[in-house]
C-alpha cells in the first residue's frame, strides 16, 4: 500500500490539482495565503498599468506579482502533493474492492451463489481455499490462512479462525487454505474497505484543534501587518517616508508568516499519511495529534508485551494425583476449546498420551473474561473445568496441600497457571508459557525517556504480572484485571490531566477504547472495538501504538519546527529589508543595514524571492516530517531551537544577501 513519495504520477496530478487550488474560493480557507493572493491580483493590475504607461517600475512590478503568485502556488502544490499521496493509497485500496460470487448458506443449509454486493449483515457464506472473501465478517467455523496483502501490503499470510481474537476477516482478501464459514458483519457500501477509502482520501478532513489555534495566531499576525501596510503611506508621510504600493505588497508577503501559512495544510495531511504508511488508519487528524501528546500508554500483557500465543508447557499434578490424571483432565477440559491455548493443551496431552479418545460432550462452557473459567459437562455427568487460580480456588471443593506453592512457582517464572478440576476436585495445574517479545524492554525504555508512563494490564495473578512487568520494564501494572477495569484505569489517568493511549481488540475493550484519547483497535478484532477506536491497525500489531505515538510527536514537532523557522525568518527579514528601504530617508537607520543591500527595490525583490522559494525548499521536510528520536522534551526542544530557531535567524541574512548580489549581477532589478 506504500507509494513513492514523489512518483511521477503523483507529481503530475499534484501539479494539475495545485493550479485548480489557486482559485480564490479554495485559497480563502488559508488566511495568510488569501492575503498574498489578493496582493498578487492588485500587483498584477499595477504591473499591467506600468507596462501600458511605460513606467520605469514595470519590470519590478511584474517580478513582484509573479513571485506573489508563486508563493501561493507553492503552498497549493504542497497541499495537492500530500493529498495526492492519500488518493494514490485510496486508489490501490479501491482496486481490491471487486465484485465476487459468494456461496451463501440459507437457514435450511442450502447453498446459493450470489453477488458479494447482495450480501447483508447476518448472512452466512462459505469460503474455500483460493476464493476471495466477499465482504467483512467473523469466522464462525474453521480456520485457514488468509492473504491480506491487498489491505496491509504484508505478503505473509495470517491465520484466521473461529473463537479467540482472530475471527475477523476483511472483504477483498483471499483465503489461501482450508475452508471458513463466515458471518457477514457489514452491509453493502459500509465495509471496512469503504470506510478506509473515505478516510484515506481525506474528503471530510477537518482542521484539528492545534491547526485551528495556529490558524488564529497566523491570522492575527497577518491582521496586524495588513493594518500597518494600509496605513503605512498615510502615517509615513509625516516622516517623509512613503513607498510604492507594489513595494508595500512585497513587504506584506515577506513579513507575514507565509512559510508556515503555506505549509500548514500539507503538514497535517502528510502526518496522517505517515500513519497510513504504517498500516494504521486514523479516523481524524485529531487522533494523530493526541498521539503526539500522550502521557500514559496502557498495554495488554498478552500479545502486546509478551508474544501472546501462550502454549501449554507441562501438566503438574496436585496432591495424590498423577501426571496421567492431570493430562487426561486437561485434555477433557480443552477438547472443545478453539483458542490457541486450548489447542496447545490438547496437542500436548495427545503427545503425552497418544491413545486419548474424544469424549461425549453434553454442554460446552465457553471462557469469559469475567468468569475466567471454561470447560465441558460430559455426557457421563462429569463436570470438567479449567481456569485462573483466583476463581478456581473458590470453585473447587478443597484446596490440596502444596497448591499455592505450585501456582506461585509457575507465576514467578512469568508464566500463567491454569487449575484443572473434575467434579470440583482439583486435579492439577497447566503451565502456560509466554515470553516477553524481543526488543520490548528497549522500546519501553524509549517511552520512559520520552516521559511517557507505561501501564501493563493483565488478567493474570500478581506474581506473573510482577515478573513480566519487571522483565519488560513497564512503569506500573494492574494484575487480575477484568476487561471493565480498563476504562477505570483510563479515567483515573485522565482525571490527573494525562492524555491516555491504549490498544484493544475485544468487544469488552470498546468502552475503554472510546474513552481513551488515542484508542488503537486491531483489524483482527471485533467490529465494536473497531468502531469505538479512533485508529485501526491493519497489521493487528498492538506494539504499533508505540510507533503511532512517535508519528504523532513527529507531526507536532514538524509543525512546531516550521512555525519557529517561519516566525524567526520573518523577524530576521525585518532587520534585513527595512533598513535598506528606509536608509535613504532616515539616515540614522542605515546603521542597521549591515548586509548593505544594493537598493530598496533590490532588497524587496531579494526578500520576496527568498520568501517564495523557502516554501518550495521546505515541502520535502513538511511531507517527510522532521527527524524524530525518542528523547526527553527538554533536549528535543534545545535541538530544535538550535536547528530551526538559530538556523531561521541566520538563513535570511545569508540568502537575501546572495540573492541581492545575483539580481544586481543579472540586472533584473531597477
Amino acid at each position: 500500500m506504500s507509494n513513492g513519495v514523489y512518483s511521477r504520477k503523483i507529481l503530475v496530478d499534484a501539479f494539475a490539482d495545485s493550479i485548480k487550488k489557486l482559485s480564490p474560493r479554495h485559497v480563502i480557507g488559508n488566511p495568510v495565503m488569501f492575503v498574498v493572493e489578493v496582493s498578487f491580483f492588485f500587483a498584477l493590475i499595477l504591473a499591467i498599468g506600468a507596462w501600458i504607461f511605460g513606467s520605469s517600475v514595470a519590470l519590478f512590478n511584474t517580478e513582484i506579482s509573479i513571485l506573489l503568485l508563486l508563493t501561493v502556488w507553492f503552498s497549493t502544490f504542497a497541499e495537492a502533493l500530500s493529498e495526492g499521496r492519500g488518493r494514490a493509497q485510496a486508489e490501490s485500496l479501491r482496486k481490491t474492492r471487486k465484485e465476487v460470487r459468494a456461496q451463501k448458506i440459507a437457514d435450511d443449509g442450502t447453498i446459493t451463489e450470489v453477488d458479494s454486493s447482495e450480501l447483508v449483515k447476518g448472512d452466512r457464506v462459505i469460503v474455500r481455499a483460493g476464493d476471495t472473501i466477499p465482504n467483512d465478517g467473523d469466522v464462525i467455523k474453521g480456520s485457514g490462512s488468509v492473504d491480506e496483502s491487498a489491505i496491509t501490503g504484508e505478503s505473509a499470510p495470517v491465520i484466521r479462525e473461529s473463537g479467540g481474537d482472530f475471527t475477523s476477516v476483511t472483504g477483498g482478501t483471499t483465503l489461501l487454505s482450508d475452508e471458513l464459514l463466515i458471518e457477514i458483519t457489514a452491509n453493502p457500501g459500509e465495509s471496512f474497505l469503504d470506510k478506509m477509502i473515505a478516510l484515506v482520501e481525506g474528503a471530510t478532513r477537518q482542521k484539528t484543534p492545534n491547526e485551528l489555534a495556529l490558524t488564529t495566531v497566523l491570522a492575527g499576525f497577518t491582521w496586524i501587518l495588513t493594518v500597518i501596510i494600509i496605513t503605512f503611506n498615510t502615517l509615513g508621510s509625516f516622516l517623509g517616508v512613503t513607498s510604492d504600493i507594489t513595494v508595500l505588497y512585497g513587504l506584506l508577503a515577506c513579513l507575514a508568516p507565509t512559510t508556515i501559512g503555506g505549509l500548514l495544510p500539507a503538514i497535517g495531511i502528510a502526518g496522517m499519511d505517515r500513519v497510513t504508511q504504517f498500516n494504521v488508519i486514523a479516523t481524524s487528524g485529531r487522533a494523530v495529534e493526541a498521539a503526539g501528546d500522550v502521557n500514559t500508554i496502557i498495554l495488554d500483557k498478552t500479545g502486546t508485551i509478551t508474544i501472546g500465543n501462550r502454549l501449554a508447557e507441562e501438566f503438574i499434578p496436585l496432591g495424590d494425583k498423577t501426571e496421567a490424571d492431570v493430562t487426561r483432565a486437561s485434555y477433557l477440559s480443552s477438547v472443545c476449546d478453539e483458542t490457541p491455548e486450548g489447542r496447545s493443551i490438547v496437542a500436548l496431552a495427545q503427545k503425552l498420551i497418544p491413545d486419548l479418545t474424544r469424549p461425549d460432550v453434553k454442554n460446552v462452557i465457553e471462557f469469559s473474561a469475567s468468569t475466567k473459567m471454561s470447560g465441558v459437562d460430559l455426557a457421563d455427568g462429569r463436570e470438567v473445568r479449567k481456569g485462573a487460580f483466583d476463581v478456581m480456588s473458590d470453585y473447587v471443593r478443597y484446596v490440596p496441600q502444596g497448591f499455592r506453592e505450585v501456582i506461585d512457582g509457575i507465576a514467578q517464572r512469568g508464566a500463567t497457571p491454569l487449575v484443572v478440576s473434575v467434579d470440583r476436585e482439583p486435579i492439577g495445574v497447566i503451565h502456560l508459557k509466554d515470553t516477553v517479545k524481543p526488543g520490548m524492554r528497549e522500546r519501553l525504555q524509549e517511552l520512559r525517556e520520552m516521559g511517557i508512563k507505561t501501564i501493563m494490564v493483565t488478567g493474570d495473578n500478581r506474581l506473573t504480572a510482577a515478573t513480566i512487568a519487571a522483565e519488560a520494564g513497564v512503569d506500573d501494572y494492574v494484575a487480575e484485571s477484568k476487561p471493565e477495569d480498563k476504562i477505570k484505569i483510563v479515567e483515573a489517568e485522565q482525571k490527573q490531566g494525562k492524555i491516555v493511549a491504549m490498544t484493544g481488540d475485544g468487544t469488552n475493550d470498546a468502552p475503554a477504547l472510546a474513552q481513551a484519547d488515542v484508542g488503537l483497535a486491531m483489524n483482527s478484532g471485533t467490529q465494536a472495538a473497531k468502531e469505538a477506536a479512533n485508529m485501526i491497525d491493519l497489521d493487528s500489531d498492538p506494539t504499533k501504538l508505540i510507533a503511532v505515538v512517535g508519528i504523532g510527536k513527529q507531526l507536532l514537532m514538524t509543525r512546531g519546527s516550521i512555525t519557529t523557522f517561519s516566525v524567526v525568518t520573518d523577524f530576521a527579514k525585518y532587520f534585513t529589508i527595512l533598513p535598506a528601504i528606509f536608509a535613504a530617508t532616515l539616515p540614522a537607520i542605515s546603521k542597521l543595514d549591515f548586509i548593505n543591500l544594493q537598493s530598496p527595490h533590490s532588497a524587496i525583490l531579494s526578500a520576496v524571492i527568498f520568501n517564495t522559494f523557502v516554501i518550495l525548499a521546505l515541502i520535502p521536510l513538511a511531507m517527510r516530517g522532521v527527524k524524530y528520536k525518542p528523547k526527553d522534551a527538554t533536549s528535543t526542544l534545545v535541538r530544535n531551537v538550535a536547528v530551526y530557531g538559530i538556523g531561521g535567524l541566520l538563513t535570511p541574512f545569508i540568502a537575501i544577501k546572495a540573492i541581492d548580489l545575483l539580481v544586481n549581477y543579472l540586472h533584473i532589478v531597477v
Binding site: 489578493v38 492588485f42 490558524t215 491582521w223 494600509i230 504600493i245
Partner: protein
C-alpha cells in the same frame, strides 16, 4: 462647498496614484475585515 467637492474630484481624477491608493486602502480594509472574521470563527476556514 460645490467648488471644494469639485476640486477634490478634479484632483483625484488628475492623480491616478491617488485613485490607486484609495483602491489599495479599501481592499486592505476588506482584508482586515476578512481576517477579523477568521480570528473569531477559525473553524469556518
Amino acid at each position: 462647498m460645490y467648488m471644494l467637492v469639485s476640486q477634490i474630484f478634479t484632483d483625484i481624477i488628475a492623480s491616478s496614484d491617488t485613485l490607486i491608493y484609495i483602491a489599495f486602502v479599501i481592499l486592505g480594509i476588506i482584508l482586515v475585515g476578512y481576517l477579523t472574521y477568521v480570528l473569531f470563527r477559525p473553524e469556518r476556514f
